[in-house]
C-alpha cells in the first residue's frame, strides 16, 4: 500500500502552486520527507503508525487520524441506520415468506431479492433520488443534516444486506417450523400466531442475529459508494476525495485504520458467536 502510493505521482508537485519555483518544490520535498530513501520512509511510517501517528494530511494540514476521527461518527450513524432499516424490513419479510412458503408473498420476496442483488448500489441510490427527490420531491437529494437526509443513504447502504437477511430469516424460520416442538405446540392447541411469534420467532432469530453481526463489517464496503452518491461526509467519501487530491497519507490512513477495524470487528464477532449460540463450539 505504502509503496504503491508513492508510484502515483509526486505529491510535492501537486501541493505547490503551478507557478512555484523549482527550489520551492525542492524545499517542500525535504519538508515532507520525500527525499529520504524509500525503505527509510517506510520504516518511519510503520514505527509512527504503531504509536498512533499516521502523519499529516497533505490536503487538510491536520493529523490524518484526527481527520479520520471527525468523519467516523458520520459513517457510524449511516451504518447504524442502515442496519436498523435492514432488520426492520428483512426479518418480517423473511418470516412472512416462511409462514406462507410458496405463496405469492414468498415468490414476490424471492424475485425482489434476486433482482435487488443484481443492481449496482450506486444505481439504486440514483434511482431513489430520482423517485423521491426529483419526481415526488419528498426528500433532499444529498448532504447531511436532518433525519430526512438519512433515509435514502441508509436504505441504499442496507440494500444488499436486506436481501441476505430476508433469505436467512426465511430459511431459519422454515427449519424451525418443521421441528418437533412446533408440531407439539400446535397439537397442544396453541394459536398459530403464538406458535409463530413465541415458539418459532425466538429460535429462528439465533442464526439471524449472529450472522447479521458477522455481516455488519461488509457494510463498510458499501459506504464508499453510498457516501459518494449522496455526498455524505463519512470515511468512504474521505477516501475517494483524498484519492483524487493525491493526499496519500490520508488514503493510507483510511485504508489501514478501516481495514484494521474491519478485521478486528470480524474477530470480535467470531468470538462472540460462540457465546451467543452455545451450540457452536470452536475446537
Amino acid at each position: 500500500m505504502f509503496l504503491l502510493a508513492h508510484l502515483s505521482g509526486d505529491p510535492a508537485l501537486l501541493m505547490a502552486s503551478p507557478d512555484a519555483k523549482p527550489e520551492d518544490i525542492e524545499a517542500l520535498r525535504v519538508l515532507l520527507g520525500l527525499k529520504k530513501p524509500l525503505h527509510v520512509q517506510f520504516w518511519l511510517f510503520i514505527s509512527k503508525a504503531v504509536q498512533g501517528d499516521f502523519g499529516t494530511s497533505i490536503r487538510w494540514g491536520k493529523p490524518c487520524l484526527e481527520v479520520w476521527l471527525t468523519r467516523f461518527p458520520n459513517t457510524l450513524l449511516l451504518g447504524g441506520a442502515a442496519i436498523t432499516f435492514t432488520l426492520l424490513i428483512g426479518i418480517p419479510t423473511g418470516i412472512l415468506s416462511a409462514v406462507r412458503a410458496g405463496g405469492w408473498f414468498d415468490n414476490f420476496g424471492k424475485a425482489f431479492a434476486l433482482a435487488g442483488q443484481s443492481m449496482p448500489v450506486f444505481w439504486v441510490g440514483i434511482m431513489l433520488m430520482l423517485l423521491f427527490s426529483v419526481i415526488l420531491r419528498w426528500l433532499p437529494t444529498s448532504g447531511m443534516g436532518s433525519w430526512q437526509h438519512l433515509l435514502m443513504p441508509a436504505f441504499t447502504l442496507g440494500w444488499y444486506f436486506t436481501a441476505a437477511i430476508t433469505r436467512l430469516s426465511r430459511s431459519a424460520m422454515l427449519d424451525i417450523l418443521d421441528s418437533e416442538y412446533i408440531k407439539m405446540a400446535r397439537i397442544k392447541g396453541v394459536p398459530e400466531i403464538l406458535v409463530i411469534l413465541k415458539h418459532g420467532f425466538r429460535n429462528a432469530m439465533i442464526p439471524v442475529v449472529t450472522l447479521a453481526a458477522l455481516n455488519i463489517v461488509t457494510l463498510l464496503n458499501g459506504t464508499v459508494i453510498t457516501e459518494t452518491v449522496f455526498n455524505w461526509p463519512g470515511i468512504g467519501r474521505l477516501i475517494v476525495d483524498s484519492i483524487f487530491a493525491r493526499d496519500y497519507p490520508m488514503v493510507q490512513t483510511c485504508v489501514l485504520v478501516s481495514s484494521a477495524l474491519f478485521i478486528f470487528t470480524n474477530l470480535i464477532v467470531d468470538i462472540l458467536y460462540a457465546y451467543i449460540d452455545p451450540r457452536i463450539k470452536y475446537q
Partner: protein, 302 residues
C-alpha cells in the same frame, strides 16, 4: 428350438436406452433458463460486434442534440432511441459499445481468479500440512479484507485502465474459489480412485490435475458464473467512482455517473446504463443458480 435373437434383443435395448436419453435431453433443454441465456447472448453479441451494429457513433459528440430525451418523449427523435447525454452522444450506442468493456473485464477476472483459486485449492487441499495451513491463512486474510475499499485504493494508485482493473479484481477475487474448492478437494481426496491412483504410482501433480481437478470443475463453473455478476457490478462501481476504464470509453458505470448531476433535467442518462447492468447481472445470477442446481445436487439446500 430356441427362439432367441440376440441382435434383435440388443437393438430393442438400444432403442429403449435411446428413448431414455432423448427424454432426458428434452428435460434438460426444457429446464434451461432461456431468457437469461438469450439476454447474455445478446450482450455478448453486442460486446463482440459492438462497433458494427451501433446506430450512431458512440464517441461522437453533437452539442446541438445534447440531452435529447428518449424517442417517445416530447423533443425526442428516432435517431437517438434512448436519448443522448450532455455531450449529445447516443446512449443506446454507448450501451452497446460499453458491453464489450463490462464483459471483457468480467470474463478476464473470472478466468484469472478462478484459475488462481483452483490452483491454491488443489495445492492446499491435496498437500495438506503446513502448505494448507499457510495458504488457508492467506485465504482468510483476503476474505476478511474490505475488498472494495482496497480495490479503490489500488485502482487510484495504479492508475485507471482496463488491464489494471482486471489485475486488481483478479488478485482480490480468488479467495472465495479457494475456500469452497478446497472443501471439494478434501472430499474427493478420500475417494477410492485417488487411493488407486496412488497405488498406481501416479505423481502428485498428475493426481491433482488429472484425477481431482476434473471433479471440481462443476463447482468451479457454478462459482464462476455467480462471480461474473459480482465482478461486473464491481467494475461498474469503480467506473462510477472514476477509477475504472478511463472516460472517453463508454463504461456503464461512468455513464451512470455522468447522469448523476443532470438528474433534474435528464433522467434517462443514468437510468439506461443501470438497466443494462441489471439485466446482465440478473441473467448471470439466474444462470448460476440454475447451474448450481443442475451440476451440484449438494447445493440444492442453499
Amino acid at each position: 428350438m430356441l427362439n432367441f435373437q440376440p441382435d434383435k434383443e440388443a437393438k430393442e435395448t438400444i432403442q429403449v436406452l435411446d428413448r431414455f436419453r432423448l427424454i432426458k435431453m428434452r428435460r434438460v433443454i426444457r429446464g434451461i433458463p432461456w431468457i437469461p441465456v438469450a439476454i447474455l447472448f445478446l450482450f455478448l453479441f453486442c460486446g463482440i460486434f459492438g462497433s458494427y451494429i451501433t446506430p450512431n457513433d458512440p464517441m461522437k459528440t453533437n452539442l446541438k442534440a445534447a440531452k435529447t430525451p428518449p424517442f417517445w418523449q416530447k423533443g425526442g427523435s428516432t435517431k437517438y432511441l434512448l436519448g443522448t447525454d450532455s455531450f449529445g452522444r447516443d446512449i443506446l450506442s454507448r450501451i452497446i459499445k460499453g458491453a464489450a468493456i463490462s464483459l471483457q473485464v468480467g470474463f478476464a477476472v473470472v478466468v484469472f481468479a478462478g484459475a488462481l483459486g483452483a490452483m491454491i485449492a488443489l495445492l492446499s487441499g491435496y498437500l495438506g500440512g503446513w502448505v494448507d495451513a499457510v495458504l488457508m491463512r492467506i485465504t482468510d486474510m483476503f476474505l476478511s479484507m474490505p475488498y472494495l475499499m482496497i480495490a479503490i485504493a489500488l485502482a487510484a494508485v495504479l492508475g485507471p485502465s482496463k488491464h489494471n482493473i482486471i489485475l486488481i479484481m483478479a488478485i482480490l477475487g480468488w479467495a472465495g474459489y479457494a475456500r469452497v474448492l478446497r472443501g471439494e478437494v478434501l472430499r474427493i481426496k478420500g475417494a477410492d480412485f485417488i487411493k488407486l491412483a496412488i497405488v498406481a504410482r501416479a505423481g502428485k501433480a498428475r493426481i491433482m490435475l488429472r484425477h481431482i481437478f476434473p471433479n471440481i470443475v462443476n463447482t468451479l463453473v457454478v462459482l464462476a458464473t455467480l462471480q461474473l455478476g459480482i465482478v461486473i457490478i464491481m467494475e461498474s462501481s469503480l467506473s462510477f467512482l472514476g477509477l475504472g476504464v478511463p472516460p472517453p470509453e463508454p463504461a456503464w458505470g461512468s455513464m451512470v455517473a455522468d447522469g448523476r448531476i443532470m438528474m433534474f433535467t435528464a433522467w434517462w442518462i443514468s437510468t439506461w446504463p443501470g438497466i443494462a447492468i441489471l439485466l446482465v447481472v440478473l441473467s448471470c445470477n439466474l444462470l448460476g443458480d440454475w447451474l448450481r442446481v443442475r451440476l451440484d445436487p449438494k447445493f440444492r439446500q442453499l
